[in-house]
Amino acid sequence: MAVSLTYKIIMQNHANSHQLVAKSQIMDWLQAVKDPEIPTISLIDLGVVRRVEQDEHTGKVTVELTPTFAGCPAMDYMKRDVERTLLAHGVPAVEVNISMREAWTSDMLTEAGRQALRQHKLSPPPVLGNQVLDLDFLEYAECPNCNGNNTELRTPFGATLCRAVHYCHDCRQLFEQFKPV
């Protein structure tokens, strides 16, 4: 009786360990999923992963993503990459939902994410806090080449929806900024 009970518990633990993983482990795996257009930054550091949950019975992982810009064409790729990565790590089932429940703002970028943007020669957006985002504020950016502040907004629309184009009067180069929103 005692032996069979112990056996049963061991078997249950085994079954659970097969399917249930710590949330921190899932987040580590997701660190490997990068923005399809900015290969230096992970979706976690970009701030677009808003929620990760695992069903304790089935082991299915549900991930909630939110777009940086509503018309972002990279969302389908992000969704696919999250699914593939988690399935490759043995998660039995994955569901990725796109939601605006918690609208993305550029303040959701982590410090590591800002560093990753600089690595890609993109000026990170200033941290807004609770301040009202007025139109003048959109015109400020720090040059990612020389760190200069003597810069000017050339156009709020760049190569992708999330980028604006600025000019640096110090090093006389055009550069791109990840827009504050």
């Binding site: 777009p67 810009f69 509503a70 018309g71 972002c72 064409p73 605006m100 429940r101 609208a103 993305w104 703002t105 985002l133 139109l135 959109l138 050339r154 156009t155 709020p156 629309f157 760049g158 190569a159 929806l161 604006a164 184009v165 827009k179 929103v181």
Partner: protein, 249 residues
């Protein structure tokens, strides 16, 4: 019509149709940056329409693609302003300025809508619309203070476009309920905020602002009455989709 559906269809259809018009500048913009600007704003607006059609779908309406690509002109609730052809750049810029100021203020107000799913979407879109307003202001101020020809063209464009812009604020039968249920502040309140906002920018130019409230609005769009320009736009926009509506892209 249910007030939520009534409001959402107007918002979504405006975005879709102006998004399509903006995309027509792709490859034709007067300078590269402007080509990219109108293409980017087109992409934003299509994204906004998708978010709004998705809300309609959650309320029981058909799939976003079905709603966008299978209706004909009389079933659209957009204002006539957004369906006019792109014309010359002076007109497209002026329409963009007048429309996007209204949109920015509209979505700022909707961010506190009693209908929480719409409020969530509005909180997202208003941040993006700030860039549209910023872009429009830059060009209104630049061209509205430039050469005699530029000022004259912008003035003519403004005079032509304003009556259509007033059509943005055309009310429907659901208006009273929309306001009383806290869905939205209402078109009259929006129009007065808009007037203040555009006047502030125009006063920094050499352009003369006519007595706007004395103009007769070009209305009808919210009730499915459209110019002869909308149906050809829809035919072109949906041409590929209608070849095979079941195709998996």
């Amino acid at each position: 019509m249910d007030p939520k559906l009534d409001l959402l269809y107007r918002l979504a259809d405006d975005q879709l149709i102006l998004g399509h018009r903006n995309s027509e500048w792709n490859g034709l913009g007067p300078i590269l940056e402007e080509d990219i600007a109108f293409s980017s704003m087109a992409q934003d607006k299509l994204g906004h329409s998708l978010a709004l059609y998705t809300l309609l779908h959650e309320l029981g309406e058909a799939e976003p693609d079905t709603v966008a690509f299978t209706r004909n002109a009389p079933q659209f609730h957009c204002c006539q302003l957004v369906e006019l052809p792109i014309g010359e750049y002076d007109f497209s810029l002026t329409r963009h300025f007048l429309f996007d100021h209204a949109e920015l203020l509209r979505f700022e107000a909707l961010a506190t809508s009693s209908y929480e799913p719409l409020a969530q979407v509005a909180r997202k879109l208003r941040g993006e619309l700030k860039y549209h307003a910023l872009h429009a202001n830059t060009w209104m101020k630049r061209l509205g203070t430039a050469t005699e020809e530029a000022i004259e063209r912008m003035q003519n464009a403004l005079n032509f476009t304003l009556p259509y812009a007033l059509g943005i604020f055309e009310k429907t039968e659901a208006e009273a309920e929309i306001i009383s249920s806290g869905l939205f502040i209402g078109e009259d309140e929006l129009r007065s905020r808009w007037l203040e906002s555009i006047t502030k920018v125009l006063s920094q130019t050499a352009l003369e602002v006519p007595d706007i409230l004395a103009l007769t609005p070009v209305a009808g769009g919210r009730y499915g009455q459209h110019t002869e320009h909308l149906q050809p736009l829809l035919d072109e926009m949906a041409e590929v989709f209608r070849l095979d509506p079941t195709a998996d892209w």
